[in-house]
């Protein structure tokens, strides 16, 4: 390791500070005791579904669809989750079944 302990602490502190900046900034800019601009209120209402969409895509960011397993285990896993959830609408069941199917696929079928 090339860094001194002090340099390591500073580096970690920078990461903490950067992370907290992204979490606290909206609340510092639009404090609860002042009226939030209508445009920001609008964003607060419409952003969440889009952000959840972004998170779903985020999970697939490192999946390669053009080589290797072509993303087939991931697509099957998500299909199991989605179909079960439409059918039973039981969160734990959908997630557990999808994950087990995915684990079997990557450990035994596509290994």
């Amino acid at each position: 390791m090339t860094m001194t302990l002090t340099q390591q602490i500073i580096t970690i502190a920078m990461v903490v500070f950067g992370t907290m900046a992204t979490r606290f900034l909206p609340f510092l800019l639009f404090p609860a005791n002042r009226t939030t601009p209508l445009y920001v209120q609008y964003l607060g209402r419409v952003l969440p579904p889009a952000v959840l969409g972004l998170l779903v895509i985020y999970c697939f960011k490192d999946v390669t669809f053009t080589a290797g397993t072509f993303g087939i285990p991931e697509l099957i896993g998500v299909t199991v989750v989605a179909v079960l959830h439409l059918w039973k609408r039981n969160m734990m069941l959908s997630m557990a079944a999808g994950t087990v199917v995915y684990m079997v696929l990557v450990q035994a079928v596509f290994s």
Partner: protein
Amino acid sequence: MKRKAFLAAFPHTLPILAGFLFLGIAYGIYMHSLGFSAIYPILMSLFIFAGSMEFVAAAMLLAAFNPFSAILLTVMINARHLFYGLSMLDRYKGTGRLKPYLIFGLCDESFSINYTAKVPAGIDKGWFMFFVTALNQLYWVAGSAIGALFGSYIQFNTEGLGFVMTALFVVLFMEQWMNDKHHTSAMTGLALSALSLIIFGSSHFIIPAMIAILLALTVMRQPLERKDELVS
């Protein structure tokens, strides 16, 4: 009141228990393999509490000392939290002294659960969200510690277990979808993020995706607000 809120919150965090213990253990093992003592992953999980960021921070610690680039990279990787904050401005109102911790712990999982969960009547919303956040962090820190201290003893084949996080986000996306009156925003988020991923690749797609989503939702403000009025 706290007890009831805890009991209501705990089941919502079970998928995170599985996912964070696993990912935390993976992170602890990773840090151990890089030669860091267990105190590093434990303290980093306690203070940073942002999964993917902590893996990147490990790489930073091994590179040349550059605090400015550290902060810049961190803000870029975690920029999506800005959207979580904007979405939670209203929900976090009236949570009093719990609010600083709720904001501190606003990771992907805390956001998605606290945003989509319907807090049962009679349960204090602030304490419910506090326990969701604190349990999530507990799982993450515990996982990191287990991985760092005992990682070399784990025999069970855990390959693919991380898929539980993907499953969680898919389910939460579907729950949100079923509760929404229209799906313009959800489809905008999916389509623009996917497009951005194809164009910019996995390590650079989040910021362009966020900008595109922001622009699209801004352009669609009038029709969307009219749609909301019509259906509500």
